[in-house]
């Protein structure tokens, strides 16, 4: 199943963006604040967020978190902001507009996190409390297992390197289990 989120669902708090950029919100000057606002709006324009999700009784052993032991149902979901945001960040970097590129990258990371959080809440509304949200790279699941997840979900538009890095870059794989 795929889900196309509305704007609010992937809009991160500016506080989080500033934190990712290593700046305290209250110390931000007008110039920098305006720049972040500009980039924020631009990020929304270049993002095409999408979530693929499926309910499984079981998942392959290699991607099964230890904390999920005993769960009866697992939802795996893959979220992405799409490829255009990558292109835009790259363009800034190539043009030596490093600050813009850095802000957009920080925004995109936080936007993806905001999207995961919104979808997480949505799933819990449907299925109840569940385990905490889990992604490869944490606990006992190797980040390279992203490949397994993408294969399991049969998503052709996402490419996974052997390293576990995914293209589009602003993509994550997540799981939540229910007892």
């Amino acid at each position: 199943m795929t889900y196309l989120p509305n704007d609010i669902e992937f809009m991160p708090s500016k506080k989080m963006i500033f934190a990712r950029l290593g700046v305290r919100y209250k110390n931000v000057d007008q110039y920098f604040n305006k720049k972040v606002n500009d980039i924020y709006v631009e990020g929304m324009k270049y993002s095409k967020p999408k979530v693929w999700w499926k309910i499984f009784d079981r998942v392959p052993e290699s991607i099964m978190p230890e904390e999920f032991s005993g769960v009866k149902k697992i939802v795996v979901f893959v979220s992405t902001l799409g490829k255009h945001i990558d292109v835009r960040i790259d363009k800034y970097m190539k043009n030596n507009e490093i600050l813009n590129g850095t802000i957009l990258d920080a925004w995109a990371s936080e936007a993806l996190e905001a999207l995961n959080e919104s979808f997480d809440i949505r799933l819990r509304h449907m299925f109840g409390e569940g385990t905490r949200r889990f992604s490869p790279g944490y606990g006992n699941v190797d980040i390279r297992e992203n490949k397994t997840v993408i294969r399991l979900m049969k998503i052709e538009s996402i490419k996974v390197f052997e390293s576990g890095v995914m293209i589009p870059r602003k993509t994550t794989t997540c799981m939540i289990g229910w007892w």
């Binding site: 609010i8 809009m11 708090s13 500016k14 209250k26 007008q30 604040n33 305006k34 606002n37 709006v41």
Partner: protein, 781 residues
């Protein structure tokens, strides 16, 4: 639902609350053109639909559609419907829209559209009555609270607050002012002056709205958030209006950007958030969904105390220098002038004392039995006109003190009260109603002899004041200086200062009493002051001409490790100084001297007009404020008239004529009047056709007066199209004349599309006129 102030503040304590967005721009977007309050009678459904949309967007407070529904504004707008019906229906419609939802109704109050004296034609009491009349209808119709918004004059805001509070002392009030980007209102009041007065006045929330987009409003709101001791609120515009190809007007800031920017206000601790011009239910809905109904952030509030006038603010720390010279006691000539309402000497003393380094001016008009309340209001208004320092109102009779406080713009010193309970009760009432700082004399019926007794009596009075809501930081205790010539011991005062200071109580003295009747007063005063400051004295009413005394202040404080840095506002050009300090006589004398070497035309165009141009630049840079600009214009006007009378007829033809008008359908002309005053003060001949002027009337006037330049003003987004109409009409008639357009809804982009020039403000208009004249000269010459 009926909301008490306690319940209202309880709500704000729980989480951030949301106001609705714009009304006017939304109705205009739907195709309505006209006075939107009429819809409360003619098209209730339209108002209901918009308000319902705001309710569905998730607002907590819905405003009534009554922004302009006060008697004066409706008269200006030529609305014939009954004021009562417009306001009553507004509440009824809002209540229907909010039915069965947890939404409260706020009665929306805004400007009368007229400046209050001294800058306008209406009195404080008239404004008060107009606000009271509207508020009473809204209150009886069942509003849960009030919001006073888009006010640019602190005096008008005070009138509105008092009017509402006098009707109901338990109804919540949100009080807003509107500011320019530099954090100063068009009448010269800074955010700090506004907030520090509103901290005292009986309102529940302090905030700002309109004029600026969210990003521009951040620095303004930051100051509100720092200075306000009460909950804070904000309603920015969705940017500046922009004209579309089809003639409609849009606001640039999208709902997404608006929401993102509004997070800044949450970070700064806002308690209430909404939208002003250009925001729609969509903006508000999106914003609420994005920001959520979270708890307000705790703010770091500045706890310093300030005194202020309309345009000047002074911290009471580290030491307050109060100039004593405006004191008519025992001065027959001075008293006579006051009785005749001749304020020349008072204004002169105000200017001199400021130049000598005073922070505050004590005003004592002498024997009050010979005076009426109008003497006090005249003096206060005249000092307001010259942008004076904050005042210490040294007034004995309670009725006069109340009149003076009503008229005063800013946070004054109330000088003074004894420690008698009846007097303290009166002081409490005045401090709560009008704001300010109190000088408390350490006496009841008699002055205690010992320092301990004086300190004790003051401490008890402060306890009483604090119990009644006046904190001790708002009190300066005067331990009373008595004349040494009458064999009084000055060390009693010094000891009392020591005791009070050690208890964290501010102290102030009337220094010159010490040396009354003695020779070499300056030596005595300065020596005594040094001893007092050493014991912790925090303020003194003194003679600022005494250089030793003034030096002692700086020296004594420096020895305590405190440095006072003084910023003085003097300009190199003596003519500019005379203009800004309203020294009409000196200016005329200077001009007469110049006439020995230059022709009247040369002085008019090359000297006086250039000086005014410089004054305009000072205004543009924010170094002087609107009242000072208007005053400067008023000061030079008679001088120009004098010069013009000397100019020969052939030369008189060289004087440029500028025709001004507010376009048809628009009744706003305060800005245009200011432009006219400034242009006139630069030596131009101004013909003002007034407001709501049809294009064909403008055409006839051009044919009649043959002006060099036409200036048009349009305030509303719905009337800016009329500027194009005038331009097209003149084109059809083959009349070539430069047109300068201005007004809140105009901008450079729209002007360019219309083929006219754009001036943002009066100073801009002056520069533009000069540039245009040079261009014309080049073409002709």
């Amino acid at each position: 639902m009926i909301l008490t102030r306690k319940e209202f503040l309880g709500l704000l304590n729980e989480r951030i609350h949301y106001l609705d967005g714009a009304y006017g721009t939304e109705f205009f977007r739907s195709g309505f053109k006209g006075v939107i309050e009429i819809l409360n009678i003619e098209n209730k459904e339209m108002v209901y639909s918009l308000q319902k949309a705001y309710v569905e967007a998730g607002v907590d407070f819905l405003l009534t559609n009554t922004f302009s529904a006060n008697r004066l504004k409706l008269e200006t707008l030529k609305v014939n419907y009954d004021l009562r019906d417009i306001n009553y229906n507004a509440v009824k419609i809002a209540k229907m829209a909010a039915a069965n939802k947890n939404v409260y109704i706020l009665g929306d109050i805004s400007s009368t559209g007229h400046f209050i004296k001294p800058f306008g034609e209406i009195s404080f009491n008239e404004a008060y009555d107009v606000f009271k009349e509207q508020s009473e209808i809204l209150l009886n119709a069942g509003v849960d609270g009030f919001i006073i918004e888009t006010i640019s004059d602190l005096k008008e805001l005070k009138a509105a607050i008092l009017a509402i509070r006098d009707l109901d002392d338990d109804i919540p009030i949100i009080a807003h002012m509107t500011f320019n980007k530099n954090g100063v209102s068009v009448t010269g009041t800074s955010v700090e002056i506004f907030v520090t007065l509103l901290n005292d006045l009986d309102v529940d929330v302090i905030g700002t709205n309109c004029t600026l987009a969210p990003e521009e409003l951040v620095p303004v709101f930051k100051k509100i958030s720092e200075y306000s001791k009460k909950p804070v609120s904000v309603e920015p515009n969705a940017g500046k209006p922009r004209l579309q190809r089809d003639g409609s007007v849009i606001y640039k800031v999208s709902r997404e950007r608006f929401a993102i920017c509004m997070e800044d206000f949450i970070e700064m601790g806002s308690n209430i958030i909404g939208g002003c011009c250009g925001t729609s239910p969509d903006h508000i809905k999106f914003m609420i969904e994005f920001l959520g109904k979270v708890k307000s952030k705790k703010r770091n509030i500045l706890l310093k105390e300030f005194v202020s006038s309309r345009t000047k603010i002074k911290s009471t720390e580290p030491f307050l220098i109060i100039g004593e010279k405006i004191n008519a006691s025992g001065k027959k000539n001075f008293q006579r002038k006051i009785r005749e309402k001749n304020t020349e000497k008072i204004v002169e003393l105000a200017i001199t004392q400021e130049q000598e380094g005073a922070h505050v001016l004590d005003v004592n008009l002498g024997i009050e039995k010979l005076l009426e309340s109008s003497h006090f209001t005249t003096v206060i208004n005249e000092l307001d006109k010259v942008s004076s320092l904050p005042l210490s109102l040294d007034i004995q009779q309670y009725e006069f003190m109340e009149e003076a406080l009503k008229e005063y713009v800013g946070r004054p010193i109330i000088n003074s009260s004894t420690c008698k309970t009846e007097q303290l009760d009166k002081a409490i009432y005045l401090l709560k109603r009008y704001g300010g700082i109190l000088i408390l004399l350490t006496m009841k019926d008699k002055i205690p002899k010992t320092a301990k007794e004086r300190a004790e009596i003051a401490k008890n009075a402060i306890k009483y004041l604090e119990k009644n809501g006046i904190n001790k930081e708002r009190v300066f205790v005067d331990p009373l200086v008595l004349p040494i010539g009458a064999k009084k011991d000055p060390y009693v005062t010094i000891e009392a200062i020591n005791i009070l200071s050690r208890s964290g109580i501010n102290t102030s003295i009337g220094l010159s009493n010490l040396s009354f009747g003695m020779p070499n007063r300056e030596a005595l005063n300065s020596a005594f002051l040094a001893l007092c400051i050493n014991e912790g004295l925090s303020a003194a009413i003194l003679n600022t001409s005494e250089r030793s005394t003034m030096n002692v202040i700086f020296g004594s404080l420096m020895l305590k490790g405190i440095e006072i840095t003084e910023k003085k506002k003097f300009f190199e050009n003596p003519i500019v100084n005379m203009i800004l300090k309203k020294k009409e006589t000196d200016l005329k004398r200077e001009i007469e001297k110049l006439l020995e070497d230059y022709s009247p035309l040369q002085i008019s165009q090359d000297i006086l007009s250039k000086a005014m141009e410089y004054v305009g630049e000072l205004y543009s840079k924010g170094e002087i404020h609107l009242p000072e600009l208007i005053l400067a214009a008023e000061t030079v006007s008679p001088i120009f008239e004098f010069l013009n009378s000397l100019i020969e007829e052939k030369d008189n033809k060289q004087i440029t004529t500028i025709l001004l008008a507010t376009v048809e359908g628009d009744v706003h002309d305060i800005g245009k009047k200011i432009v006219g005053t400034v242009l006139k003060s630069a030596g131009f001949n101004i013909i003002d056709l007034g407001k709501d002027v049809p294009a064909n009337v403008i055409l006839s006037a051009i044919k009649k007066y043959n002006p060099d330049i036409l200036g048009l003003s349009a305030m509303m987004t719905t009337t800016i199209g009329k500027i194009k109409e005038v331009k097209d009409l003149l084109k059809n008639e083959n009349i070539k004349i430069p047109i300068i357009a201005g007004g809140a809804s105009m901008n450079g982009e729209i002007a360019k599309k219309f083929g006219v020039f754009y001036a943002k403000n009066a100073s801009d208009a002056l520069k533009l006129v000069k540039k245009l004249l040079k261009d014309i000269e080049k073409v002709i010459g």
